[in-house]
């Protein structure tokens, strides 16, 4: 159903744009075989799972959204387990609300592969191709940008860094377990824009580069500002 009323509403609580920066911390654990890899996958802190499923998004932000996660890359390129690599790559991170559930799925895929292909456990990669488990240590901080209306939001979203976008879309939803991205939540509860909230929620941010993601969200917001509904 289209909602042709141009949204002018001022939110009681403005949206505060935050940003985040991370450094990497080594856990000291490394794997040269698939059973070792599985052992550590089960016990590493959630920040490790988060790092290896997300850091490509920032480090290679100028590439098309091809590299899915470090786990799949290692299984495919270093271990030579192409089927496993492909299965790990196809795990849709957006479908998981917690790192715990994401980890369970990764572990399940590896376990299944080991059961189906028992000989793969004998493969040993050279030490220089070992998988090193690293975690993200993150600092979150407020930016000077706030928005009370959809128009202001659109203007601010154009100028915030991709670190800010990254925080509200990825970090808030999965790592901080807010259940959904911050933008959708504010559109719905702060501005009373449920359709726009739904449209942004429905995006799979893992299949965009960061700049593409910014552009897509901006397009949805602008369409709504022009009086279009069902954004």
């Amino acid at each position: 159903m289209e909602n042709r009323v141009v949204p002018m509403k001022q939110a009681e609580h403005p949206f505060h744009f935050y940003a985040r920066q991370s450094i990497q911390e080594s856990t000291g654990w490394r794997a040269v075989t698939l059973p070792q890899f599985l052992k550590y996958l089960r016990i590493v802190p959630g920040s490790v799972i988060y790092h290896h499923t997300h850091h490509y998004l920032q480090q290679h932000q100028f590439l098309s959204p091809e590299p899915p996660n470090d786990f799949s890359y290692w299984a495919f390129q270093s271990l030579g387990a192409r089927r496993l690599g492909e299965r790990l790559a196809s795990i849709s991170t957006i479908e998981f609300d917690t790192i715990r559930s994401l980890r369970e799925e990764i572990v399940r895929v590896v376990e299944e592969h080991l059961r189906a292909h028992p000989l793969v456990r004998l493969r040993i990669v050279p030490v220089e191709e070992a998988f090193y488990f690293v975690k993200a240590v993150t600092v979150v901080f407020p930016t000077p940008y706030t928005a009370r209306s959809l128009k202001e939001f659109s203007e601010r979203l154009e100028s915030v860094t991709i670190d800010s976008l990254y925080f509200h879309i990825f970090e808030a939803r999965l790592r901080l377990e807010r259940g959904e991205n911050d933008f959708s939540r504010w559109f719905e509860t702060g501005l009373g824009e449920p359709e726009l909230a739904r449209a942004v929620r429905a995006l799979d941010p893992y299949t965009h580069t960061m700049e593409e993601l910014r552009g897509t969200i901006l397009r949805l917001v602008r369409r709504r500002l022009e009086g279009g509904g069902d954004a």
């Binding site: 450094i23 990497q24 080594s26 000291g28 490394r30 993150t138 979150v140 901080f141």
Partner: protein, 410 residues
Amino acid sequence: MPEAAPLLEDYGVVVGSQMIDELKFLADRLGGRRVQHINSTAQGGGVAEILNRLIPLFNQLGLDTRWEVLEGNAPFFEMTKKVHNALHGEPERFSRKDFRVYLECNAENLKRLTLDGDAVFIHDPQPAAFVESRRKWGGRWVWRCHVDVSAPQMNAWRFLERFINRFDAAIFSAPQFAQRLSIRQFLIAPSIDPLSEKNRELTTEEVDRAMDQLQIPRDKPIVTQVSRFDRLKDPVGVIEAFRIVKKSVDARLVLAGGGASDDPEGAEVLAQVRQRAGNDPDILILELPPGSNLQINAIQRASAVVVQKSLREGFALTVTEALWKGKPVVASAVGGIPLQIAHKYGGMLCHSVEGAAHRIKQLLNSPGFAERLGKNGREHVRQNFLLTRHLKEYLLLMLALESGQDVTFL
């Protein structure tokens, strides 16, 4: 004469003004903390070079930052050179006297230094034993390791380890360089300064003038390795590779390097290199004095291919420099080089003299491909290996150490 330090804002042209704003914000949250960096040489080598550029920026951000240099005599630096080689896995023998020389020199330096920073960064093994005095000073102490210690000779590592484990944290350039320690280990890649004399953009006239002064003819494509004359940089291997290249492609080799004041082996290696080069007019060996940054910049920019055929490496900032200048690079797949070069995408990796020769020939014969590699390599450096990112990670580390959490809200 030391270069004037650029203003923090000057970096906005290269990395964007938002990055500068973020640096200021993070530094602001550290509220004027006092920071100290300690290493063993003020000139020569990558560590001194980074500190020369980083420290003024720390201060511009309002963090009172000092740089102290350990003073050592010849026996001390001979001992620490052996430690350096042994950490890279080279066979070295240590006597009790060696260890005594090391400890005595550290103790002597501690008598004159005031290490009262809120954050004290000790670089590399030479001043590691300073940590013995940390209780006296307080502050958070971090060991910044610039070398690959993943496969060390154990006698050297065991000696050092007892000091390292007394720090609050260690920093390595990559996880594969690290050792198992009882303290937290952060990963921070080193960086280059895009505004320094060594890396800033040069006009064609500036390049020509420098090449004329250095008497490097430009009549043939130039293949260059810029490195200290150090066995681990394998300058002799570069000459061997170049001789293979010369069988089918006419080119000129430039081996340019200087010594560092903490490297007593340099003269010996240089003599060996000269002997191997013989009277070949197409091999130029340049011993550059410290501070020849403009000259190095010009040589790299005038080169058709830049080589780094090291046997072992730390991070290999000479590779970063060449990539930043958009040059096609052929480099050994050791140390931090594979982190900088995706093979056939942002440069060429090699594993042998023959492999290096093959890749150099390919690049000399395919200038279009070489140019594409150079462009990709430059972009990768812009994203990941510039000084501002390095500075930011030091600030984040200080904040993370203070909070002790995986996620810190400021």
